[in-house]
Symmetry: C2
């Protein structure tokens, strides 16, 4: 079975491969992809095995075909629809960041409890009053959500989203969201990351902490 972390790495490989494709490379070896991604060659080979794509010992992996295989593996054919709750600074930054970045991942609506932040279109996404969360999320068929509300509203927001049919959540509020096992939650805790970096940064060099930890596992 494919490892949990493999999924994250595949997302990374795909991005690197797309850049390679643009630069005209037809084939890559696992050790090349490893160097560019910061993973090991063995990880790369095992991950690619997981998506069912085979390389050639002579030429490595065909870039274009491999991208297609990863697409088929990672993406839902009809694409995934996401909503974002909390149109503060961070929420707006994420809306703008995702604008047209991944065609299979669309943010289809945003919500905020502050009337001054609703009724507008932000980076191509309409912002609604949070009261309409359930009706709009269900109407749009959203299965994903991004939570950028304050900490004390995050859990309640998650529960409403799950009730409305959301199955995957990326949470930026500085609390761990509690959810049933069938719901996938990625907690991205920026303060924690900075505190971890601060801790390890001041450890003596002896720390063999190569440990590149990527976000949300």
């Amino acid at each position: 079975m494919i490892s949990t972390r493999s999924i994250g790495r595949l997302s990374l490989y795909r991005r690197i491969l797309s850049a390679l494709l643009g630069s005209g490379s037809g084939y890559v070896y696992s050790h090349q992809l490893a160097e560019m991604s910061g993973c090991t060659a063995a990880q790369v080979r095992r991950d690619l095995m997981g998506v069912g794509y085979s390389g050639s010992p002579a030429r490595g992996y065909a870039v274009a075909d491999l991208i297609e295989s990863i697409d088929n593996f990672l993406d839902s054919p009809e694409g995934s629809r996401a909503v974002l709750v909390g149109v503060g600074n961070l929420g707006r930054a994420i809306l703008c960041y995702f604008q047209g970045r991944r065609p299979k991942l669309n943010i289809v609506a945003a919500f905020d409890k502050n009337p001054q932040r609703t009724g507008r279109v932000i980076c191509g996404v309409r912002s609604h009053p949070v009261e309409e969360l359930e009706t709009v999320a269900e109407k749009e068929g959203a299965t994903l959500a991004i939570i950028t509300v304050p900490a004390d509203e995050a859990q309640r927001t998650a529960e409403r989203l799950i009730e409305a049919g959301v199955r995957g959540i990326v949470n930026f509020a500085p609390v761990r969201i509690q959810a049933p096992p069938r719901i996938h939650v990625e907690d991205i805790d920026i303060t924690m990351s900075l505190e971890k970096a601060a801790f390890f940064a001041r450890q003596p060099d002896a720390e063999t902490e190569t440990a590149q930890k990527e976000s949300a596992t």
Copy 2:
């Protein structure tokens, strides 16, 4: 030795404990802290053992004392000084987010290559031209950095920061930063997190993925 992930959890416990302190609770049991943090009671006990604080079988852990122990363990006595490079939407959001949030973690300067984003004070932090990165970072004694520049500038930015004395980096650009082992790098990849959530969200319920993965490990 204390586990890498323990550091992140300690940061989380501290935040929860601070809220408890405000609500007047004098003592907590490991299972209470576990429930509030989404960790297991065994993890909590082992993590707290790691900071050298002992609880009592009768009353559990003394909240105020425990916070102090975690502070002593995690924080540098003189505090850590961070700079932020890339004052776009995300960079500004992070600047405002951290404003006065953690007294031992100060963002002391920001940088951008765009003159329209420099020479200003954003959420209490002065934004400088990126040409001044080395001089300002060294003068301020920065040991931490937050990178919010576009992907193609991230690696070069990291190298300049390391050269200027930075030992810990939190990177939001969608590339993995390559750095010497003694530098601690936390890569927070928002796109990857959303793609992972999308993948697991559409797996059949059988997936026992409780897996709450927090960002940047």
